[in-house]
């Protein structure tokens, strides 16, 4: 089993608050890793740490055998990302936005059209990005992550703002990417049913701590052992979070 991303005791503290608390992840090459957790669980913070956007308080991580900050440029060349809200130049068109990223990554000119087509934004490529709808901005963000077909994709809530057909389209796209061009995907989403359909492995975070890591089958086994509902991912997820929250409350009382 080859791991392309590994973290070891990764921690991020803001004064007394631990946004990420000593998490150890193992993300397999060529697989889709679903990162789940309630709001404020630390998913986005972990993703930001992996992209070098924020420094961990302690712990280490490596991406394809490389480490921040020494190999920042080499790592970022391999990663396409969409973190939180899509980021773009409002004064430029969709095409121009992607062209900037293309130039930074040193990609051929046709990669812009390729990325627009991949997310279904070809006919709106000449429109100013500030005039895009929320869903179109999200697609542009996805296109900017997919341009150049990177080896690793880090997607934080990529279906935010999309309509049901858009969600379906993006889900199918994300699912097809590892086989299309052998990439690894770390994806977070609140839509558990979406993750259940596309992820090979799951990581569940709550209050910055990793509650579970493994495949969906392993999760089912663990759920049975712990006496959780095993109907679907959502049931297992909710049971796991509820029990962790209850245990935390007990610890606080003691």
């Amino acid at each position: 089993m080859e791991h392309i991303i590994t973290t070891n005791g990764l921690t991020k503290r803001y004064k007394q608050f631990a946004a990420v608390n000593c998490i150890t992840l193992h993300i397999q090459k060529g697989k889709i890793y679903g990162f789940l957790g309630p709001n404020g669980a630390g998913k986005s913070t972990t993703m930001k740490i992996l992209l070098g956007l924020t420094n961990p308080t302690s712990g280490t991580f490596s991406i394809d055998g490389k480490q921040f900050p020494k190999d920042r440029i080499a790592i970022l060349k391999e990663i396409g990302s969409l973190i939180e809200a899509p980021s773009f130049y409002g004064n430029l068109t969709g095409k121009e936005n992607l062209d900037i990223i293309r130039r930074i990554l040193g990609l051929p000119k046709n990669s812009v059209e390729d990325a627009l087509e991949l997310v279904g934004l070809s006919e709106f490529g000449d429109r100013l990005a500030k005039k895009y709808s929320l869903g179109m901005k999200q697609r542009l963000g996805l296109a900017s992550a997919l341009i150049g077909r990177p080896a690793i994709l880090i997607l934080d809530e990529p279906t935010n703002g999309l309509d049901p057909s858009g969600i379906h389209e993006i889900r199918n796209l994300v699912k097809s990417l590892p086989t299309m061009y052998d990439c690894t995907i770390l994806i977070s989403s609140h839509l558990l049913s979406e993750i259940e359909l596309i992820a090979d492995d799951i990581g569940i975070l709550n209050h910055g701590s990793l509650l579970f890591e493994g495949s969906l089958d392993e999760m089912r086994k663990a759920a049975v052992q712990r006496g959780y509902a095993t109907e679907n991912l959502e049931e297992m997820f909710l049971s796991m979070i509820e029990q962790d929250n209850a245990a935390r409350k007990t610890r606080v009382k003691l």
Partner: protein
């Protein structure tokens, strides 16, 4: 070169280029219009013709340049802050410090072009309206370089401010406050106030002659470097959150 082409592309429709080129052209037109209308009264002043040409028009031109620099600095980073584009840049294999230096280079070139346009106008006015044999191109060139060098600390300072504040209005407010502080301090005639970059830019306008003050030049270059390095260091430590 790659960074320059990327930054030039980002500047499209941002208003940065029209603002600085517009200031240059407006300054040139102002100089023409003013000299054409007030030629007799200006040339009757008890000053050498070259001093009249350079000092009597520069005040207004300096104010235009100052506000041009403030607005252009606001706009050049506004495109990065609006739409969180800078966040995307941080997740790409590009140097954030490199982006900062390139923006500085673009603004510097635009200011240089603007000042050049204004001084070309002064050269034409000098040849057309000054008494024969009194126009001195070397003096004009020295004064051009002087006004450019004294403009640089404000540019460097405003770029550092603009890179830090997401709201363009805060940057603009600091620029306007800087202008008023410069207007107040420059009349106090204290060397200590030369620390204020907004006082330095006003120095050529406050001078009664075309003599270049070496202290002002040295301070201008030093402050430009200090603000540039400080701004770049702040950008280096800027974090996504």
């Amino acid at each position: 070169m790659k960074l320059l082409s990327i930054e030039l592309k980002k500047g499209r429709r941002s208003g940065v280029f029209p603002v600085m080129l517009g200031v240059g052209l407006l300054g040139a037109l102002y100089a023409f219009a003013n000299f054409a209308v007030r030629k007799e009264s200006l040339l009757s002043l008890p000053l050498p013709p070259m001093t009249i040409l350079l000092t009597q028009l520069y005040g207004m031109i300096m104010v235009m340049n100052l506000f041009g620099i403030i607005v252009a600095a606001c706009l050049i980073y506004n495109v990065e802050h609006r739409g969180n584009a800078l966040n995307k840049m941080m997740a790409l294999p590009i140097s954030i410090s490199g982006i900062y230096f390139t923006k500085f280079a673009i603004l510097t070139t635009l200011v240089a072009v603007g000042i050049a346009l204004q001084n070309i106008a002064l050269a034409i006015i000098g040849n057309l309206y000054l008494p024969e044999g009194t126009f001195d191109a070397a003096v004009l060139l020295r004064f051009t370089v002087y006004s450019f060098v004294t403009s640089m600390p404000v540019l460097s300072f405003m770029l550092a401010v603009s890179s830090r504040f997401e709201s363009m209005w805060i940057t603009l407010g600091i620029g306007v406050a800087g202008f008023f502080s410069g207007m107040t301090m420059t009349t106090a005639n204290s060397k200590l106030f030369l620390i204020n970059p907004f006082v330095l830019i006003m120095e050529p306008a406050m001078s009664p002659n075309t003599v270049i003050d070496t202290t002002v030049i040295v301070l201008s270059i030093s402050e430009t470097i200090v603000f540039l390095v400080a701004g770049q260091m702040l950008m280096k430590h800027i974090r996504y959150e």
